[in-house]
């Protein structure tokens, strides 16, 4: 395979984003859980809740450091590797990124210092406020980055200006309240909450299996299962909402997620298992459930979901239309002052499809003279590889339903006060919780893949192909940085996981004098400050 700058830049972006996204969901969820636990501490005055906040806070800190470290790259990488994209959309896309800094990053980064260092310098309520500020900051940052990302998926509130060669904002309001962005935001933060809940649940289950830190483990489990249950429901419901939105504006993403090559009569059937083949452009086999797909995607019995073939045909029309826009644009660029109003009018009529003309540029220098075969090839290039889309989506959804199931079970045991039953009779459930710790990460990464790989070949849906957004760099340069990031991130990840495990093994401070084994059953906690027995 020949290496090229576009593929390497995509690989680098995917790599740095996926690494970054190993740390972000846990930060988003754990910050809220910390704030919740600390609220309980402030309201009840029971020391054990403070010790919980400190323990989970230590793990939060180890994770947070790498979230910050890997996040640094994200802010600058658009300019480094995607210079033409940056110039083309900065007027729209830059604003949410800047506001993210103003509204979110400053808040979380400034108060995170107080969270760790302010225990003895602040009153209880002041410290609680600092913790909530961190939680709010992290969640706001998700909001703004998803407004930016949502715009790449559904570029509303903007228009291409031929005189400045870029997309420009027409309505900032539309960019903010982009339905895709809003659905994605709730879906993504919910995924973060589930991640943190499963993390806390799994580690607490491990302590219960080991018979250590029982008092803290039980309380943590109660909080985690309740929070996890609500978030798992939310992540699935809002995931469904994201799918619904995708079907409105990214029909190709939907069709490839479902390996739906041909348009079916409504309501379409749902492929549970399939073997999509990109060469033959069909499924080698598929197990279908009738009607389900149509119901989920359109929420109706009569609306039709277009299949890949029909969408490709539609793309051919748009490519032809785009070529007309492209041609008019060349004339406008050559003589911006003197070009006739008729040319500008032609451009305006077809400007919506300009991006499609860029799809032809790998095949021909002049889109106006493209042959039928070239248009055909360009149109098929709008189809992302179906196989990984189909399975990444299914793995994510399966994880989602599993999280609902598992958190429901634990929520039942904790809310009915039967967590000791788990320890005594249902130890296998605790084992399941421990072994489920990695699953939310897998689900999150799959979700990122479906959303971003599923947008290909577009960097901005239907407006600018990814290949056109890249910087003018050499293969060597991108290879160097790619290798550098992989080496650096992998080293740091190994260190991070090792420290996590070390601090999980050390465990929370039970408030017992050193050397005293906590008894098997829970008993009143004796700490520095006496607290009432529960």
């Amino acid at each position: 395979m020949e290496l090229n700058v576009v593929d390497l830049s995509r690989l680098q972006f995917a790599m740095t984003a996926l690494y970054h996204f190993l740390f972000v969901p846990l930060t988003i969820g754990l910050s809220i859980l910390l704030a919740t636990m600390e609220t309980v501490y402030v309201m009840t005055g029971r020391e054990i809740w403070k010790r919980m906040v400190k323990f989970w806070g230590t793990l939060f800190g180890i994770n947070f450091a790498l979230g910050v470290a890997t996040g640094l790259t994200m802010e600058f990488q658009f300019g480094m590797n995607w210079a033409y994209f940056s110039q083309y959309v900065g007027d729209v896309f830059g604003a949410p990124l800047a506001i993210e800094g103003l509204m979110a990053f400053f808040l979380e980064a400034t108060f995170v210092g107080l969270f760790f260092f302010g225990w003895d310098k602040l009153s209880k309520r002041q410290h609680l406020a600092a913790t909530w500020a961190v939680a709010l900051g992290t969640n706001f940052s998700a909001l703004w980055i998803l407004i930016a990302n949502g715009w790449m998926q559904n570029p509303v509130g903007s228009m291409f200006n031929p005189d400045t060669m870029r997309m420009e904002v027409t309505s900032f309001f539309d960019v903010l309240f982009n339905p895709v962005a809003q659905a994605k935001f709730v879906h993504t933060v919910s995924a973060g909450y589930v991640t943190a809940a499963m993390f806390m649940l799994g580690i607490s289950a491990w302590y219960m299996l080991k018979g250590r830190h029982i008092a803290i483990a039980k309380r943590s489990m109660t909080i985690a299962s309740a929070f996890g249950f609500a978030s798992a429901l939310s992540v699935v419901v809002l995931g469904d909402e994201s799918g619904y939105e995708a079907n409105l504006n990214q029909k190709m993403k939907m069709a490839t997620m479902e390996a739906m090559w041909h348009t079916e009569p409504a309501p379409a059937s749902f492929n549970i298992v399939a073997w999509p083949d990109m060469e033959k452009r069909e499924n080698l086999f598929a197990i279908e459930v009738p009607y389900v797909m149509g119901l989920i995607a359109t929420r109706s019995l009569t609306d039709i979901i277009p299949g890949i073939y029909d969408l490709v045909d539609h793309s051919k029309d748009r490519i032809r239309q785009g070529a007309i826009a492209w041609n008019a644009l060349q004339e406008i660029r050559a003589n911006p002052e003197t070009v006739g109003e008729d040319v500008r009018e032609t451009f305006r009529q077809n400007a919506n499809s300009l991006g499609y003309a860029y799809l032809l540029l790998p095949y021909t220098d002049n889109p106006m003279e493209a042959t039928t075969e070239q248009v055909d090839e360009a149109a098929w290039s709008t189809v992302p590889n179906v196989f990984p889309m189909f399975y990444a989506f299914r793995i994510m959804v399966a994880c989602g339903f599993f999280f609902i199931l598992l958190t429901t079970v634990f929520f039942y045991y904790s809310s009915s006060g039967k967590l000791d039953v788990l320890r005594e009779k249902r130890r296998w459930l605790l084992h399941v919780a421990v072994w489920s710790i990695p699953l939310p990460w897998i689900a999150c990464e799959m979700g990122w893949f479906v959303a971003e790989y599923g947008r290909q070949p577009w960097i901005i849906e239907s407006m600018l192909p990814t290949s056109a957004g890249v910087s003018s760099l050499s293969v060597t340069e991108v290879l160097l940085t790619l290798a550098g990031f992989v080496a650096l991130y992998s080293t740091l990840l190994v260190i991070e996981v090792a420290l996590m495990i070390k601090y999980i093994k050390i465990g929370p401070d039970d408030g017992q004098p050193a050397g005293v084994q906590p008894p098997e059953a829970e008993r009143p906690v004796t700490g520095a400050a006496p607290v009432p027995a529960e």
């Binding site: 450091a65 910050v68 470290a69 640094l72 802010e75 600058f76 658009f78 300019g79 480094m80 590797n81 210079a83 033409y84 940056s86 110039q87 959309v89 900065g90 007027d91 729209v92 830059g94 604003a95 990124l97 800047a98 506001i99 993210e100 800094g101 103003l102 509204m103 990053f105 400053f106 808040l107 980064a109 400034t110 210092g113 107080l114 760790f116 260092f117 302010g118 225990w119 310098k121 500020a133 200006n161 005189d163 400045t164 060669m165 870029r166 420009e168 904002v169 900032f172 660029r333 050559a334 003018s472 760099l473 340069e477 160097l480 990031f485 650096l488 740091l492 260190i495 420290l499 070390k502």
Partner: protein, 385 residues
């Protein structure tokens, strides 16, 4: 009449040019002392406990300071998209070096104290040094290159090609700028340590600070002379420019000319105040460093940073990123900004959030204020870095 038309497009461009300066200066003044402290760490502190003292003078607050850098990136993207695109892709490998170095910082702070092993801790000390010294140097080198002009071209679709190389970034003048940046930030970091640490550490910091201030004065003067004498050529716009024009960097003519960077000072002699402020800050810091007026030294040190960075800005105005190979493609305040609407919206966001940020940051500093010494570290052994 739409809301954003309340402020002229050209006025907004100037406001965003000023805000760009505010962000860069905010970064250099706040994260600047963190970098200075990090660069000094292996030299100003010898034992583990001393190093912990040094780290803990900035440990709780450095993270917020670094956001100035991230916000700088975001704000340039929003307000000056071509600047964001061309500078970061042009300085591609240099940017990678900066990022790789800066990535080491959050982990160094957090992970160093997680294990008692001396070799573990020494490794993180040097990581922190790298994460502080390298960006300080590269930022200066980058500014030097901007003053010289950057070898980029724009085609009619505004697609940029870059004709330089990584090693091409390093020339005598740009290295001078890099060293000036390092001395400025090391001086600033030393002053911070004088203020927040005590005893031997503060004493050593005074020595390093004085040395850095002297070096700063010499390098700033030498750099100024090279520009003044025309050794470093400047850029001049030679065509009519409408300050309210839509963003199109190719709509003007410009030339490279010895002495062009002095034009603003000739036209507005009052601007000499700006480099003057830089010198005053450097000199004041040098003179006062041996005194006990710790807060006042810090004020002078801040003014040195403000003066030096602002000097670059007013020297180049209206240029923000000149091209050495296609001068007419240079980015200027007038032709490289976002739209009228975006500049206005972003100004509103800034006016809402920036004051808030300043207020809560000040409060956090106030809460965490006080000398850090070996006793405080022993006392807070569990929470301190």
């Amino acid at each position: 009449m739409v809301l954003y038309e309340l402020i002229d497009y050209s006025t907004l461009k100037i406001i965003w040019w000023v805000l760009l300066g505010v962000l860069l200066i905010g970064f250099a003044v706040t994260d600047g002392f963190d970098m200075g402290v990090g660069a000094l760490l292996p030299f100003v502190a010898e034992t583990d406990i001393e190093r912990r003292v040094v780290i803990n003078t900035i440990g709780p607050t450095w993270e917020g300071n670094q956001v100035w850098f991230i916000l700088g990136g975001g704000a340039i993207f929003a307000a000056w998209p071509p600047l964001y695109a061309i500078s970061f892709s042009g300085f591609y490998l240099a940017m990678f070096v900066v990022l790789a170095a800066m990535i080491l910082r959050p982990v160094s702070f957090k992970y160093r104290s997680k294990r008692p092993d001396p070799s573990w801790r020494t490794a993180w000390d040097w990581a922190l040094f790298t994460g502080s010294f390298v960006p300080a140097l590269v930022f200066g080198v980058a500014v030097g290159n901007v003053l010289l002009g950057v070898p980029f071209k724009l085609d009619s679709d505004l697609r940029m090609t870059y004709e330089g190389s990584f090693f091409g970034l390093f020339s005598p003048f740009t290295l001078l700028c890099g060293l000036l940046s390092v001395s400025m930030l090391v001086m600033h970091g030393s002053v911070w340590l004088v203020m927040r640490a005590s005893g031997d550490i503060a004493q050593r910091a005074r020595r390093f600070g004085s040395l850095a201030a002297i070096l700063g004065i010499v390098l700033f003067a030498l750099g100024g002379y090279l520009v003044f004498s025309g050794y470093v050529e400047g850029f001049r716009i030679t065509s009519e420019v409408d300050p309210n024009m839509a963003a199109n960097p190719l709509a003007k003519q410009a030339v490279i000319e010895g002495g062009a960077w002095m034009a603003n000072y000739t036209a507005y002699p009052i601007l000499w105040v700006v480099p003057g402020l830089g010198f005053l800050g450097l000199l004041g810091t040098l003179v006062l460093l041996q005194s006990k007026m710790e807060m006042l030294i810090f004020v002078f040190s801040k003014w040195a940073v403000v003066g030096i960075i602002a000097t670059v800005g007013v020297t180049m105005f209206p240029f923000i990123l000149p091209s050495s190979v296609q001068p007419e493609a240079s980015l200027t305040v007038w032709d490289a900004s976002s739209t009228h609407r975006t500049l206005f919206n972003m100004l509103v966001a800034t006016l809402i959030f920036l004051p808030l940020i300043l207020v809560y940051t000040a409060w956090v500093y106030k809460v965490l204020w006080g000398k850090v010494d070996e006793e405080t570290i022993e006392r807070d052994n569990h929470t301190a870095y």
